[in-house]
Symmetry: C2
Subunit: 375 residues, 2 copies
């Protein structure tokens, strides 16, 4: 079974989830705190995993993770973690349970409030440690299982990205089997999240050629398999490749991300709309590709090559075509965002961590234009 060792150990293959009981032992976790969401519980996937655990192991389940995890939900989960005297976190699900579980693991050891760890405010100095954390993705998109970051919608209305090598899960267990039942729409939207990670990471301004190579490989896999995975959810090969593209996206974005993510985060924090992060990325990506093009001619050539496109292909147009084939929305308006929200979102996009690594500088005016154009 492939064991990847580029950021954290990643056990990757069909059947990998059977390694969980052994992994808990190795991490010294006797009272695991399982973070998931109600969808995972209803689908029966959670039970398939808890059934593998020792009857003695006193697992506590938290299935109240909201779509874009909030600081309130983190605090509620932390109370349950502490109340049940848990000694480690197991995240089971897509990006939301992973992000929430990482926040709980951090606060359980380093204390609160969460906002103090904002890396843009020097918060990493305050990180004392984290509870051991094992991540088991059930979607192929976020890559959070191999990433040192997590994103939380704060009570004060900001959406903060936290990033620190200590936030890397001690072990990621990537079992494509767990994604076989994922519905078409979620397969498409999370798959576009992975593809966006690969593209934005390759374009991000820091110099990191190994990360570029991983991002291009992830794009190569994702581009070839996303349509098949979405059309036929039982295609095991396509599921394996999409999960790999997702993990590679996260390994690549150790470089940073860009304006697509700044804009998605700023929109995702509007709680009443409950917008899906991967879908936002898919819809915003073409607009940002057009914006960045003037400073990215060489990297765009490599992206096109990885996608098997002609050297002069219109990248933005190709993504729009893919979104349409996958049945994803054609713009932000279709997702329920209205123009009057732009002035609220722009400052959040400007101050987002991902803005710092976009290949082209982005001003508030630029963001306003980009939102309008993505409507």
């Amino acid at each position: 079974m492939p064991l990847l060792t580029f950021q954290n150990p990643v056990r990757f293959d069909f059947g990998a989830v059977k390694k969980l009981p052994d992994a808990l032992k190795r991490q010294g976790i006797e009272r695991p705190f399982l973070v998931t969401d109600s969808g995972l519980r209803d689908s029966g996937l959670l039970e398939r995993i808890t059934d593998m655990l020792d009857t003695e192991s006193a697992a506590t389940v938290f299935d109240g993770t909201p779509g874009n995890p909030t600081e309130e939900a983190v605090i509620e989960a932390l109370q349950s973690y502490e109340g049940n005297d848990c000694d480690g976190v197991v995240c089971i699900g897509g990006g939301s349970p992973m992000d929430l579980g990482k926040a709980v693991a951090l606060m359980a050891v380093s204390g609160g409030p969460l906002a103090q760890y904002d890396p843009l405010q020097g918060g990493n100095k305050l990180v004392k440690g984290t509870a051991p954390l094992i991540a088991i993705p059930t979607t192929a998109g976020t890559g959070s299982e191999a990433s040192l970051g997590f994103v939380i919608s704060m009570t004060d209305g900001r959406k903060l990205t936290f990033a620190n090598p200590q936030f890397l899960p001690k072990l990621a267990i990537c079992d494509p089997e767990l994604t076989l039942g994922l519905p078409q729409r979620l397969t498409a939207a999370t798959g576009m999240d992975a593809i966006t990670h690969c593209i934005e990471a390759v374009l991000a301004s820091p110099s990191n050629p190994p990360a570029d190579g991983i991002g291009l490989d992830g794009l190569w896999r994702g581009w070839r398999h996303i349509r098949r995975a979405a059309e036929d959810g039982s295609d095991r090969n396509a599921r394996w490749e999409m999960m790999m593209a997702s993990t590679e996206g996260a390994l690549a974005f150790v470089k940073g991300l860009g304006a697509v993510h700044s804009m998605s985060h700023a929109a995702g924090r509007i709680k009443e709309l409950k917008l899906h992060h991967g879908t936002l990325n898919a819809v915003i990506l073409p607009t940002v590709l057009r914006f960045n093009e003037s400073v990215c001619s060489d990297p765009y050539l490599r992206l096109r090559q990885a996608m098997g496109l002609a050297p002069d292909a219109d990248l933005a147009r190709e993504i729009e075509k893919l979104n349409s084939d996958l049945g994803l929305p054609s713009g932000l308006a279709e997702m329920g965002l209205s123009e009057d929200l732009i002035k609220d979102m722009v400052p959040h996009a400007v101050s987002d961590l991902a803005t710092m690594t976009n290949p082209k500088q982005v001003s508030a005016e630029d963001y306003a234009k980009l939102y309008r154009s993505a409507m």
Copy 2:
């Protein structure tokens, strides 16, 4: 300055070597053992580095590293390390000082004899630890600064590969400035070592897509810059790219290598011939590419794409052309190897660690044929 974090921390850029005094402090090394070779000392490069160290820091220099480091040299160096009460190793040079320094760091903490750590004999269980080690490459080829392996010619005639995550340098300092004075022939031969690592890693049998991506990126860089680096040693951009290709080669070969390396190791252990490892790889590579082709059609397409070649280009022929452009030998005979040595080399190639990961099974008969064809 780029900091790569895929296996060990790698400080990578012009001027990175100035980080050495700070790195010694961070690693708690007060009495460093500097492992290098006489060529490095004669070139003045060693002095440029020792001049940066505190006058108080009691550095011990070992410049007796032979071309293919031997167990005898390791023991001699270890005696000096212990006699001078050193507390950490700094390797400065190409692959040979790195391999020798890694062996010293291992034996200083885990004890001898070295042969007990042979990974094919379960030797990794005996590794108790290593002295802190910092690696500063002065060639762009071996990538040993980012690799968990090292290779030693043993007193009993074997050439053993040792591999363990604990053998990764605590820090690699990759400063392309240090390669500006490298002569044409050594630039070419070490550069071909890097290119061979990238190619053999991509073809190696284990599944590890991020490593494939890194290897393809390294090949993309190496193929585009090796001629320029060899023709004009002062081309800073070409030097940067070749050093990156070298580091990426090592990150990629965490997957394993293949028959080129098995054959090179078996030839490199013949002490009287003093054959250069990178030159051996360059000369053997075309023959092994022809041998593996029948099982590698898809990966060969990706290699050709990374090299900017036509989809039906003859990979082996392209490498032969490159070797000839670089003034490297056209065969093993030209390097001084005669056919009567084949029966001595074959069993060593068969039992080499790299044989296990060659994409096509290689028998003793195959190796004999491959050696004859590479003559």
